[in-house]
Subunit: 331 residues, 2 copies
Amino acid sequence: MERPVRILGTGKYLPKRQVTAEQLDQKLGLPAGWVEKKSGVRVRHFVTDETSTQMGAAAATQALQNAGLTFADIDCLVCASGTAQQEIPCTAALLQEELGESDSGVPCFDINSTCLSFVTALDVMSAAMAAGVYKRVLIVSTEISSVGLNWEQKESSILFGDGAAAAVIGLAPDGSSSRILCSRMETYSKGAHYSEIRGGGTLIHPSEYGKGNESDFMFDMDGRKLFRMTSQLLEGFIERLLSNTTISLSEIKAVVPHQASGMAMRIMAQKLGLAPGQMINIIENHGNVIAASIPMALHEAIQEKKVARGDLLLLLGTSAGLSLGGVLLEY
Amino acid sequence: MERPVRILGTGKYLPKRQVTAEQLDQKLGLPAGWVEKKSGVRVRHFVTDETSTQMGAAAATQALQNAGLTFADIDCLVCASGTAQQEIPCTAALLQEELGESDSGVPCFDINSTCLSFVTALDVMSAAMAAGVYKRVLIVSTEISSVGLNWEQKESSILFGDGAAAAVIGLAPDGSSSRILCSRMETYSKGAHYSEIRGGGTLIHPSEYGKGNESDFMFDMDGRKLFRMTSQLLEGFIERLLSNTTISLSEIKAVVPHQASGMAMRIMAQKLGLAPGQMINIIENHGNVIAASIPMALHEAIQEKKVARGDLLLLLGTSAGLSLGGVLLEY
């Protein structure tokens, strides 16, 4: 299950507009300090005129630069997001267009497991690379959560931000020990309706909008049930994830988690017995950016030199579905 | 690039309600015979009370039966559709729930390249299997096109049907020569807007529906431009697809194409110089079922004994994006 794949470069983009916890306290008529305390988010960014593909293209361009590559070096473009720019075609094709590469022929498709999309794409595409199908893959997660939030659900709406992150992955060069050591994903759909947007697909088509069902087109989360279920599953999942390796959590330089919420990450660090600083936490000034959260946290950790080549990293998250997913890699 | 993977079983589901070409002639105020002549579709099926996951679960159950397996034998469930049941979570998780396997933990995610989604999923997941990540994968394509058709665009709306198809793929048993010989995908986003649904995502959110933009939430196709572009690209694509093999088209028992339209398939057969009967054509009584078209045609060909173990098959299609994709396999 090991795959000789290296993360060659990462990038991110945040929308220009910042929205602070104080602004949301006021907007929602809440006591000062409530939003930051509940969410752990001091500042998130919301799009004004930015589109999903514009953000994704900016993050992708930075990832290519950081890898010392250009788009011509890429042989596959995967969009790994929980939200799409439009129904048809897939967002990856629109990203190719936004990057000015519309004649390139580089294959484009989307992989979606909501907040785990990047982890799933890294897992699956690294395997495709190990099997010889692709050599260098650009994975882009770009999310606009702000259009689908239900501000009457205070505890969920205050968590999210917009933004994009990208990574270029390639076969590890000779002599490099960069690799994916193991990966695992588990889905328990008994939790499928604990976090969802019921509308927008073929079940409640957009043409049904505005008949008193407006909330069906907004994010709906039962935080308590979600939290209880993921808490019960997490430890067993980690055990199964690492079971084919000899690695213990204490040997891992950094755990790069989905930035679900401040509290979710505190409890995760506690449950896993992580050392202070072992978990990469960027929620304070990014919020939960759906699938972009994990690659964005990875990008920040690399930029801030919290991780270096040779370090073991665990990308780890939960998502709507309900799914748990993780990839253990040597950076 | 060869992968020792076998299609173990296939299944399909068609909605109960049949809609004939004559009914559409009348509905659209067209002369008798116009719809069938233009589309090549005599009967398509539209959902009444069926959901996308109900159809997909029925097709999946049949595919498992035909493979002589149960869900317990599966270690990954991929939904490979151009349409989704709801915005969040991914349709694969909802399929797991519909199959009554919500405690199974089997990982679920979606792969989307519109009409090529099944081909992309087969390509990528067979590679993941070759790399040792999964052993048996259930791929389900389930599509409800009927909710998003624009009946004022007569030439596109008359092509489509609803339905689902599924395939179980597994590592080829010892001594079997079943395998994927090669695969290829190319995306040219200069054609990204020749077939699209602009609305429904983050660009034109469902909450914008009903402000004179209704057609943004329906399928929009420029058939002429699409047709010209794919015609120009097809022959070169096939050459590149087969270039790493010694196989010529005449050695391939059956080409299983995307059932885009009667005319598109006639021209494809002509351009590729296929022998009569070499192309599997089920459009007459299914219509274009988006990503379900290719696995449904494959299922029909197997059921009607047009293909047998040991035969070379070419799954081949075009999709919104604009993309071309193909997988050559020994069945």
